[in-house]
């Protein structure tokens, strides 16, 4: 990049853009090479009392929502949604709002460190490195190892870093980078895309257009909480409910506990775990019969009476649902979450998709279709399933991996303990983490070369699903980095140059921006997008200004219903691992998700259904509690075949008496003062059982519950006296 775009040129472009879009974006700190200057020398785009707004992408989850950050005098003040980004249309979730608590978190990693693996960080421990040395380390790690023994483990977000690493590994013949995230695991993404591949012909994330549906059957899909793209789906839900003045969409949730999503359903059906697929088939069969004509093969085999007994859903209920479906113009069924996290998850997903085929909503408004590919993407790619992680870990243990780069993921915390990732790490000679926060994995590696926080760094991110448009969401620094951190992309680029040879050839980029722009070139001149630009500089400027580039029109590859209905779907009974009187249902905490625990305001947010703050709880039906003599705030030990975990009980009226549930997101042993030693992690008790698609059957376990005799009062936002009554037995 010889001719560097100066800030002045940029502002010209910006002003042009400003006329066309509401987002006022200077490219302040974004002026390529970030310098920190005293406020006495304030850059001309910051005036006292005036805010500057920067469009960027939210990195709190992989949904790629667009953000506009309000900054004032070099400080990020408020995160607001980017109104023009099709994924979230100006809306944000709680985690997006709290992203600033990540940026200004007191526990950020401030410098590159070496040789930790356990011992504490800090200058006094003499473990601080300078960046040249750090980059040398990376270069050596790349050069001195057999490429096949170099591994990259990355977060779920399909971003520019992932592209860069893919290029690198492809060029040097190293195994492709592995993407993983606990969210993906609890969403059973692999199962979904496998089912899509089997029935719809493409391994894409199916897109469920609930916005235009009038009856929604959700089989354990928590699309209002964390599932796939919560903001987008919440918007869809709102449209479904009140978008059409003539009719109010009807929403039925099948789930063994009343989740936040189920709480919004018109009908919540506490279904026996693992029978979602059967119920879907049964409903399908009844619908087919109600519609008359021949019942498609997919539903032929199922025996309704049998389903009724197995699922515990009364026949009348089924019939009323069928009635709703038959009456509806555009019904849609969504498989997800706990329904797929079963031994029979894949067939369940297929059954539900087949149901959609039956009601013939493929590619129609309010129906199912495939999520579009992102602008600069040509093949669907999904994060690794738990099965694949197991293989990966096996490879680590067998010493097949000499150097492991970890970025954007915290497998030690996110993977079930039983997978033994922590142990596997010890058998990897060199582990290099690019973590921004001192999470469990980072502290267990040899080096931490901290990346900028998302709001301090460049980038782009593909939107995998959640919108009908093809979206590439752009990111730019909104503040200059607070600490001595460095962009991982830059680190890899410079390391590659240092390593020279094929490495240098693989990554011939001057810096991160150059690399990003190289990935955007294929969009120059595209006329059907959010903006048109003649050449890369203008395009890059607009790209930052708009917060990305996206197609204007919806484009959804339509699968064929015939193939879906043609093949027989049989949902065999789910097997439950281990013994014990309870089915164990872990779910992702709606407010914390997998990485929110270190943000104090997310901790302070109450769980929507139980209103518990700052802690982990075990949901148990009061009746069950009475039988076992367990009261609120009694600490119980949950014992599974794989392990045990302790947490206080919340007697939750809206959960099946034979089910206990536990939120995922707390129980950190590191990860900063707000997260460390707080709550418990249900992943500790998850056993290694997979469904046909290789996803973890996390909801397919039986567990025992033991009283510990201890009490730990849960902090609740609700007043127990008012919500659950105050009459004392005396």
């Amino acid at each position: 990049m010889s001719e560097k775009i100066s800030r002045r040129d940029f502002l010209k472009l910006a002003s042009v853009g400003a006329a066309t879009t509401a987002v006022l974006t200077g490219c302040g700190p974004a002026s390529r090479y970030v310098v920190r200057e005293p406020y006495t020398k304030m850059p001309e785009y910051t005036y006292n009392g005036l805010s500057t707004y920067y469009a960027t992408t939210c990195r709190e989850c992989a949904a790629a929502c667009g953000l506009v950050i309000r900054t004032m005098q070099g400080r990020a003040i408020k995160a607001e949604g980017n109104a023009s980004n099709p994924v979230n249309l100006g809306k944000t979730c709680a985690r997006g709002q709290a992203t600033l608590h990540g940026l200004y978190n007191p526990d950020r990693i401030t410098e590159p460190y070496k040789g930790i693996r356990g011992q504490p960080l800090g200058r006094e421990s003499g473990s601080v490195l300078d960046w040249d040395a750090a980059i040398q380390v990376v270069a050596d790690a790349l050069k001195n190892n057999n490429p096949s023994e170099v591994a990259f483990l990355m977060g779920m977000a399909p971003d520019h870093l992932f592209d860069l690493v893919s290029d690198l590994t492809a060029a040097i013949g190293a195994p492709a980078p592995v993407r993983f995230g606990a969210l993906g695991m609890f969403e059973s993404r692999a199962t979904l895309s496998k089912a899509a591949e089997n029935l719809l012909g493409q391994p894409a994330m199916p897109f469920f257009d609930i916005a235009n549906a009038d009856v929604v059957l959700s089989f354990g899909a928590n699309f209002l909480e964390t599932w796939l793209s919560p903001v987008a789906y919440t918007r869809g839900f709102a449209k479904m409910r009140r978008g059409n003045p003539k009719r109010r969409g009807y929403f039925i949730q099948f789930e063994s506990r009343l989740s936040q999503t189920a709480a919004k359903a018109d009908e919540w059906i506490p279904i026996h775990p693992g029978t979602d697929g059967l119920v879907a088939l049964a409903i399908g069969k009844l619908v087919a019969e109600a519609k008359g004509g021949v019942t498609p093969r997919a539903f032929a085999s199922v025996n309704v009476a049998d389903v009724v007994t197995k699922s515990g859903v009364a026949l009348e209920t089924l019939e009323s649902i069928v009635h709703h479906v038959v009456e509806a113009e555009s019904p849609v069924a969504i498989p997800g979450g706990t329904a797929l996290g079963q031994s029979n998850g894949l067939s369940t997903a297929e059954a539900v998709l087949a149901f959609n085929a039956l009601v013939d909503n493929f590619g129609k408004p309010g129906g199912v279709s495939l999520s579009p590919l992102s602008p600069n993407q040509n093949v669907y790619h999904r994060p690794a399933s738990a099965q694949e992680m197991t293989d990966f870990i096996a490879k680590m243990k067998s010493g097949g991996i000499k150097v492991l780069f970890v970025h954007g993921v915290n497998p030690v915390f996110e993977l079930p303990k039983s997978l033994g990732f922590a142990e596997a790490l010890s058998s990897v000679p060199q582990v290099i983490s690019f973590a921004t926060f001192p999470d469990e994995t980072a502290l267990a590696s040899d080096y931490i070369f901290p990346d900028h926080h998302g709001l301090e760094s460049w980038g782009y991110q593909r939107s995998v699903t959640g919108t009908q448009q093809s979206v590439l969401s752009g990111a730019q620094p909104v503040v200059s980095p607070s600490y001595n951190t460095n962009s991982t992309v830059d680190v890899l680029l410079r390391a590659a140059q240092l390593a020279g040879g094929k490495f240098a050839e693989a990554l011939p980029y001057a810096d991160e921006v150059a690399f990003i722009q190289s990935k955007l070139t294929n969009l120059i001149g595209e006329t059907d997008g959010s903006f048109v630009a003649p050449e890369i500089n203008t395009f890059a400027a607009y790209f930052q200004q708009h917060g990305g580039w996206w197609k204007n029109a919806a484009e959804l590859p339509t699968p064929s219903a015939a193939s879906a209905l043609g093949q027989g779907v049989t949902v065999e009974e789910a097997e439950f691992a281990g013994e014990g009187e309870f089915f164990f249902v872990p779910f992702v905490s709606p407010t914390l998700a997998e990485a929110g625990a270190n943000k104090p305001w997310l901790q302070e947010l109450p769980d929507p259904t139980t209103t518990v703050l700052w802690n982990t709880w075990v949901e148990m039906n009061p009746e069950t509690g009475k039988e076992l003599g367990i009261e609120n705030d009694d600490v119980v030990k949950i014992v599974s075949e794989a392990g045990e975990v302790e947490a206080p009980v919340y007697l939750y009226p809206a959960i099946r008496p034979d089910v206990i549930a536990m939120p995922f997101g707390q129980g950190h042993t590191a990860y900063g003062r707000f997260a460390q030693g707080r709550g418990a992690n249900p992943a500790d008790v998850l056993g290694l059982h997979f469904n046909e698609a290789g996803d973890l059957a996390f909801a397919g376990m039986r567990v025992k519950v033991e009283k510990t005799g201890r009490k730990q009062v849960l902090s609740r936002l609700e007043g127990k006296l008012g919500v659950y009554g105050f009459i004392e037995e005396k």
């Binding site: 400080r75 990020a76 003040i77 408020k78 995160a79 607001e80 949604g81 979230n88 100006g90 809306k91 944000t92 979730c93 985690r95 709002q97 709290a98 600033l100 608590h101 940026l103 200004y104 978190n105 007191p106 209002l224 919560p230 903001v231 919440t234 839900f237 709102a238 009140r242 109010r248 009343l258 936040q260 709480a263 919004k264 506490p270 407010t591 104090p600 997310l602 901790q603 302070e604 947010l605 109450p606 929507p608 259904t609 209103t611 703050l613 700052w614 802690n615 009226p653 809206a654 959960i655 099946r656 008496p657 003062r673 707000f674 009062v713 902090s715 936002l717 007043g719 919500v723 659950y724």
Partner: protein, 254 residues
Amino acid sequence: MATELEQAGFTNRSEEELGGRWGMVVDQDLCTGCQACVAACSMENNVPFVGEEDAGYGRAMHWIRIERLWESTEYPEVKMTPFQPTMCQQCHNAPCEPVCPVYASVHSDSQDLNLQVYNRCIGTRYCGNNCPYQVRAFNWYDYTDARIRPELTTLQNQLNPDVTVRRRGIMEKCTFCIQRIHKAEDKAKSEGREVEDGEFTTACAQACPASAITFGRIDDPKSEVSRAATSSRGKHLLEELGTLPRVTYLAGGA
């Protein structure tokens, strides 16, 4: 007499006829209880977090809280009441106002809002006591003082300079993001016009993914909020008290 009767709720007249300038509508049928509004509000208004123990004791400082009760707790006929985001209702006849001995909670003529003047407050907590909606939050400690809570030193970079940071012993509450109202009004004034509907909105309404919260001018019959407020589903909290809240709730259900 007629007006008293109307104020007591014997009226079919819509809010704007009874006055008011800024108003809010919350559609409980849409609210998914996702807490985005709570987070947004806290980020915008420098609301401090109080930590596990205090929050559990009832000292959480949320300016907006999402309530949910149970219609029935008998499994399987369990029924949860629709999520109800509860913030200051900006009553026209606010019970919290006359009880303050030092005019710390006064009524704004021009905006018909319920003001809380932090630096006037001496902490008698009568207003909090007298608020039927229990939406006032009291600073039980110096929650915002980094000398007492070192973890705030970096987090304070994020404080919104348009909003006062409150010290201990002071009552605070939702202000309808009055700093945004002022910004918009000043802008409109400088351009010699009235504030337009949708020109700006409160932090909670801006964030809400389900667009369950609508904010705007209820004295403008054409505005989105007044149309929503006059919907047949509309109701006020504790209407019988005749406090004339400026927040309308749209009931859930069909």
